[in-house]
């Protein structure tokens, strides 16, 4: 890498080179063949888009609410770590700042209609915008009913509100509260269990918790386990445990 590049610029560069994935996969038309053999080029690996720490979407209030909701969906308790230890909020924040939050790969042309349950996601808002509108309404609802934002409420009140949204007893004006809840739960589970390169599942806490060995790729020695436990410490795409940041 060129000398004198600031860390930030270097990160930006890194980001630029990994955004190939953020665009619809129609970068270049190419022709192959005519007996040339399999194409190959140095450093041609199609590395993942994983977001970088600088790339954030939520403001401070939104981030507090996201942390609080995630912590109720996957609580930290005596049985083990939850969304907080796994830093699910950072995962969601980065996802919302990237192609996923913008629904860049999704068909987002109208007209928009509510649709039937068998027809799936029909919101006119990409995920990030859906979060923004829903989180504002959630805090407004909590403020009107309890005089505090969601993150300031006791856990049992928070659980009651989330249950109300899930059961469609609490609804929002601008967006479907239920659609928001379903997407939030999906993203929380993703952030809990995804590879740590995406910012959640910090130090592989979730994999350790359930006993998933992670990004290993060879279990030939274990096929004949015959019902006995296989106890292997997890490995991430980032490497082995001692190597990761605290």
């Amino acid at each position: 890498m060129a000398e004198g590049l600031s860390r930030r610029a270097a990160l930006q560069l890194l980001f630029m080179t990994t955004t190939a994935f953020a665009f619809p996969q129609t970068l270049l038309s190419r022709e192959y063949g005519r007996g040339e053999g399999m194409p190959w080029g140095a450093a041609a690996g199609d590395v993942p888009y994983y977001g970088i720490p600088d790339q954030r979407f939520f403001n401070a209030d939104e981030l507090s609410a996201v942390r609080a909701i995630a912590a109720r969906l996957i609580p930290s308790d005596e049985d083990g770590p939850g969304a907080t230890e796994a830093d699910v909020a950072t995962f969601i924040d980065r996802q919302m700042a990237g192609f996923y939050g913008r629904a860049q790969h999704w068909y987002m042309q109208g007209p928009f209609e509510d649709g039937l349950p068998t027809q799936g996601y029909q919101s006119e808002h990409p995920p990030a915008q859906l979060y923004r509108l829903a989180l504002a309404e959630l805090d407004a609802y909590c403020d009107a009913n309890f005089g505090l934002p969601f993150s300031g409420l006791p856990e049992n009140e928070q659980d009651g509100i989330l249950t109300g949204i899930e059961d469609e007893e609490i609804t929002f004006e601008t967006v479907s509260a239920k659609t928001f809840f379903d997407l939030f739960l999906e993203n929380t589970i993703e952030g809990f269990f995804a590879d740590p390169i995406y910012g959640g599942n910090r130090d592989m806490v979730a994999w350790r918790y359930v006993g998933f060995p992670g990004a290993r790729y060879d279990y030939r020695d274990f096929v004949g386990h015959n019902g006995a436990r296989i106890d292997l410490p997890p490995v991430s795409l980032l490497g082995r445990p001692g190597w990761s940041r605290q």
């Binding site: 996969q25 083990g80 790969h105 795409l237």
Partner: protein
């Protein structure tokens, strides 16, 4: 401005499994072949090496290798009284995109349909009398015996790991006693089974059933295929279906055919180029070539003597409709053929939770499983049951990727402390059975062009109108309890039966086994193509894929898809090139 290019002998639309098969056979016959693929180049060392292939978020949840709905999607409704809405993000199926197509990220469960599946109408009517009203089931027009050499060849190209049950009429212990007669064994022995399969096999035998290893496109040992391409032993990595294999252990176009094709001077491939239409000669008697759009938005006309659609059933049907070839199907009158007989797969299953034993399902492979076939096709007496067809029941151990698979027993809430604890307790102690049911054609299930929604180029999206039929419901009600009985015999603490009830839901993943729309048959009145997969309308237009199936059987489709492609390629080389006309007189 459309740029006209120099003519080629053959243009292939799409370069997945069937594109690679066609390209290999047609270049081998000396033809100049050009494949045009909508998606990017993809290969093992660059796109899914073992250093990052095992990324659950990227490849499955962010659809790393699938078609993007932003590029093309469908609208969906259960029936004609509803308004179809676009599938804005994929759910129930995941169409492939890019070199290798779905062949890159399939499981590799590689079955042959049963002989009776190819004659579903005549066979069942002869044995049981008339079919249910409005079932538009028909015979394929080609038989198992005609396809047998091609099944055999594809199994050798792929290096399928399996146990034959019937070789030249001789029954072999441990294989599928119901399978059609084979000319040869599988090229590789079965994969090694895990605890879950052992329990399943034991419980099935207790019930008098005959379990056999699922035929797998995952290598049980190092293998060299008839084209000289090398595959390596599978490592049971558990990142197989929905992912590319970093080990060269899963048969995909890239690991079996493409390396050879890329050395042939008479083969070319264009990537990131989307075919828009099939063009016809002015007198509409022949296809003249295809138009396509490259990544810069430039449009080209590629003339060709032969056009083969290899773009997966959904794209093949849409291209036919957008190009105005063949009469679109009208469910009101029953006339027309393009878009007719859309079928799917009727899936149900059973979850089994163990108390003391560990299933460790992260040790798995895309097609690692034991199967029983007693209740598939017409392997059992359907007298008085009110349905035809059947399902295999299988215990596959493919993975325990935690975002996708964190099953909890019935009655556990879907979030919170209690959920979290149940996830932990069951994560390593769960397995499941799947009931892989046939899907029979019905007058009201079909594909056509949507009247409202368009793609990014302003062309109509395809519209899918689909729900499970009475035959499907009876089938799944009859066979799911048998899977339940097997599951109860496996020694777990508890089971959960996942019935297939209610309407088809386009969201939860079921299978990428979309069939019909460009069906084959014996007359132009009831099919798009003849028994050689040649268009009745334009004799130099051939179609591949599961869109040819008049209805879907109780198996994964690709073994049969490949056999049909080889059969059709052989007809092109040995018959069409001599006559350049219809191979069957209408």
């Amino acid at each position: 401005m459309v740029t006209r290019l120099e003519s080629v002998d053959v243009v292939l639309v799409g370069f997945g499994w069937t594109g690679a098969i066609m390209a290999e056979k047609l270049t081998d016959a000396g033809l100049e072949v050009l494949a045009i693929e909508r998606g990017p180049w993809r290969d093992t060392p660059t796109h899914f090496p073992t250093t990052f292939a095992q990324d659950e978020l990227r490849y499955y949840w962010r659809h790393g290798m699938f078609q993007e709905t932003a590029q093309d999607t469908l609208t969906f409704r259960n029936n004609r009284s509803q308004t179809a809405l676009p599938m804005r993000r994929w759910g129930s199926f995941l169409p492939g995109n890019g070199v290798g197509g779905g062949g890159v990220h399939w499981n590799g469960q590689t079955f042959r349909f049963l002989p009776s599946d190819f004659v579903a109408r005549s066979h069942n009517e002869e044995r049981y009398g008339p079919l249910l009203e409005d079932m538009t089931v028909q015979d394929y027009g080609v038989t198992y015996d005609e396809l047998e050499p091609h099944f055999d060849y594809f199994e050798k190209i792929c290096g399928i790991s399996g146990q034959a049950g019937n070789v030249r009429g001789e029954f072999i212990e441990g294989g599928n006693p119901f399978e059609g007669e084979r000319s040869d064994h599988y090229p590789n022995p079965p994969l090694r089974m895990t605890f879950s399969q052992d329990r399943f096999a034991e419980a099935s035998r207790q019930l008098g059933l005959h379990p056999f290893p699922g035929p797998a496109a995952n290598m049980s040992r190092a293998y060299v295929n008839p084209l000289g391409v090398h595959l390596a032993p599978c490592t049971y990595c558990g990142f197989c279906e929905k992912f590319g294999c970093g080990n060269y252990s899963k048969s995909a176009p890239q690991t079996t055919i493409i390396p050879v094709l890329m050395r042939r001077n008479n083969f070319r491939l264009k990537t990131n180029a989307e075919v828009l239409t099939v063009q016809q000669t002015p007198d509409q008697s022949m296809a003249s070539g295809v138009t396509y759009l490259d990544a810069n938005g430039e449009e080209y006309f590629q003339p060709a003597d032969i056009v083969v659609l290899c773009a997966y059933p959904l794209s093949n049907t849409r291209l036919m409709l957008l190009s105005g070839i063949g009469e679109p199907y009208d469910p009101e009158t029953g006339h027309g053929v393009v878009g007719k007989n859309y079928c799917y797969q009727v899936m149900s299953g059973v979850d089994i939770f163990f108390e003391d034993e560990y299933t460790n399902e992260f040790v798995g492979a895309g097609a690692l499983g034991m199967i029983v076939d007693e209740y598939n096709g017409d392997n059992f007496d359907h007298t008085g049951l009110g349905f035809i067809g059947g399902a295999y029941i299988g215990c596959w151990t493919t993975h325990a990727r935690p975002i996708e698979s964190h099953p909890v027993p019935e009655g556990v809430p879907s979030w919170g402390s209690e959920w979290k604890k149940a996830v932990r307790e069951n994560f390593l102690k769960h397995t499941s059975l799947s009931v892989h049911g046939a899907s029979m054609a019905h007058r009201t299930n079909y594909l056509d062009l949507d009247p409202t929604y368009t793609d990014r180029l302003g062309r109509p999206l395809m519209r899918m109108t689909y729900d499970f039929t009475l035959n499907d419901r009876r089938l799944t009600q009859h066979i799911t309890p048998i899977a339940e009985e097997i599951a109860r015999g496996m020694g777990g603490r508890e089971i959960t039966v996942n019935h297939r009830r209610g309407s088809y839901d386009s969201m939860p993943y079921q299978t990428t086994h979309n069939t019909g729309g460009t069906i084959m048959g014996s007359t132009p009145v009831d099919s798009v193509v003849n028994r050689y997969c040649q268009s009745w309308d334009l004799p130099n237009l051939f179609i591949t894929g599961a869109g040819l199936f008049p209805q879907n059987a109780g198996y994964n489709p690709t073994g049969t898809v490949a056999a049909l492609a080889y059969w059709s390629a052989e007809a092109i080389v040995n018959q069409y090139l001599r006559t350049e006309g219809p191979l069957v007189q209408a």
